[in-house]
């Protein structure tokens, strides 16, 4: 199990705590298209739930009527998506794991992760000033930060990393395992399925049913939104990825 604060953070991403509104799930946003540089963390898909809410309130005050943020979850999500507010996969995992390790091990994960070598001085300085904005899937895939483990050994707090999921864009993805027993593992991630269109994406939960305890992770049954097999786009992405690994943070 993850720590209570980490669990609470996942709940907040699944249900952003806008005052008086229940069910506004945090959308997915990745800066890869808008390519904002030196921008607020929350505007490049790295914000905490409270930062996302606060930024939405500021933008609503500036551009729209504030009433949108106390209307329906669908309208709120539409507003967030239209204003590039949301969370991307590594931002989500970093926020949750950071809370988890702070509570369970008293460690500041963000400071602990190796992001870039001091050899690249300017880049290194930037990562020291803005670590969370510079943590991506490759940082988690680095052997200095994580070690590879087998499916049977996986536990809550481990991550599933997909590298090279799309031959054209060479994209990566990361999923956080939130619970695991002998039969199933539950996971949470921030993702956008093509079938969900412009306004359907966001933070989601799913599970992986163990059918072959000693097998690889893609040999298990992935269930998300009651979809399995090729209908489950997360699984499809895993199958298409050049590399799929389960990794454990070195703390």
């Amino acid at each position: 199990m993850l720590s209570p604060r980490a669990e609470q953070l996942i709940t907040e991403y699944l249900n952003l705590p806008f005052p008086g509104v229940i069910g506004a799930r945090c959308p997915y946003f990745n800066n890869i298209r808008s390519k904002q540089r030196a921008q607020l963390g929350v505007l490049i898909g790295k914000g905490s739930p409270l930062e996302i809410i606060e930024e939405a309130q500021i933008i609503a005050t500036q551009y729209r009527a504030k009433e949108i943020l106390s209307s329906t979850p669908e309208k709120i999500r539409e507003f967030l998506i239209n204003n590039n507010l949301g969370i991307e996969c590594s931002g989500f995992v970093t926020r949750v794991l950071s809370a988890h390790f702070r509570e369970t091990a008293g460690v500041d994960l963000i400071k602990k992760l190796f992001i870039v070598s001091p050899k690249y001085f300017l880049r290194w300085i930037i990562t020291k000033l803005r670590p969370i904005e510079n943590i991506n899937v490759n940082v988690y895939a680095n052997d200095k930060n994580t070690k590879k483990i087998k499916w049977r050994d996986a536990r809550a707090g481990d991550v599933i990393i997909f590298l090279g999921t799309n031959s054209r864009y060479n994209r990566n993805h990361i999923i956080l395992i939130t619970e695991k027993n002998d039969q199933t593992a539950k996971y949470a991630h921030a993702r956008a399925w093509a079938s969900e269109g412009k306004y359907g994406h966001g933070v989601c939960e799913g599970e992986i049913k163990t059918v072959n305890p000693n097998g690889e992770i893609i040999e298990q049954t992935w269930v998300e939104k009651n979809k399995i097999g090729s209908e489950n786009e997360t699984y499809l992405e895993a199958v298409q990825a050049k590399t799929v690994e389960i990794r454990r943070i070195k703390i």
Binding site: A38, Q39, L40, Q57, T61, Q62, Y63
Partner: protein, 376 residues
Amino acid sequence: MDITPFSLDLLKLALIFLFTSAIGAFLWAPILTKILYKYKLVRGAEYDFTLKSGERKQKIGTPIMGGLLVIITVTIITILFNWQRKYTYVPIGVMGISALLGAADDILNIYGQKRRNRDWQHTIILIKVHKNYLMRFWYLLTLPWTAFKRVVSVFGSHPGKGIQVHEKLIFQFIAGAITAWWIYFKLGPYWHSLRIPFDGQMFVGWWIIPIIIFFVIFTANAVNIADGLDGLAGGSLIATFLGLTIISWAEGRPAYTILNATVSGALLAYTYFNVKPARFQMGDVGSLGLGALFAINTIAINHTLLIPLFGFIFYLEIFSVILQVFSRRIFGRRLLKMAPLHHHFEFKGWNEEKIVMRFWLIHLFVVIVAIWMSLN
């Protein structure tokens, strides 16, 4: 007339100038309002997102360039009755240059075409691929200027129309350089030192030139930034210029006592029409012009180091913007909910009148402290 420090004659004269400019400005304010409406010099919502929130919608259609009321009144009264080549010539001239710059910005923000700045990456690409080698060389040569434009553009508030930040800085640099030339070469060796409260003088020699240029540019922009709520800049400037009037009077400087009193009077009339709901707003023409004049008048009476106190609320506002930009760009976090500071309090739920009056009071208090420090 007796012009010794604390001269009663000088005080009486200053008060007459104050009354005259206040009444004069008050009388022609309706004419100015008509002219501004006639030429549709009014505030639009196109580039000002703050106007889209419910509470500020009413500001759409309010005339801008109301600062002309103060600029023109002060200029006319000074030229007619207080024109002293050694003392008032340059302050009025520099105020005029800054006001012209502000006027151009105000007008272009309404009537101008949308403008686009070539970004840094685009210029680098052009250096590599432009078919004309001369153009490649030109882009390479002007690369530092392109970088400068890119860096200062983060402080711009109206992308698109109007005068851009780097252009403003050039004009303001010229205004600052004229002031520095006048102070350094025309006013004499006394102004080659900075007066330090409680501690006498510190000789700085020619270093006074960059110091003056900095203060003129910085202060003009600070007043410009603070002009965001009805009555805020106008009311605060009254306290500032009254403070400068008192100091000039106490030190027996008739030209500046009268000039500052004239500005205070015109500002009284302006603020009467500018308090919420404003009949007109100051615009860049007023804020840049009066900001520059405030800096020059303080430098001219050799209280340069007290400018941040005489202009406390303006400096607070501009520092809130600078810190917000740095925090955003370097740490990726907001320091305030919104910048400048008055928008932060608006976001927190304070109403406009409460913010303005509290800022006035804080400013007045600090100006009184500055007066006390000046007398020591």
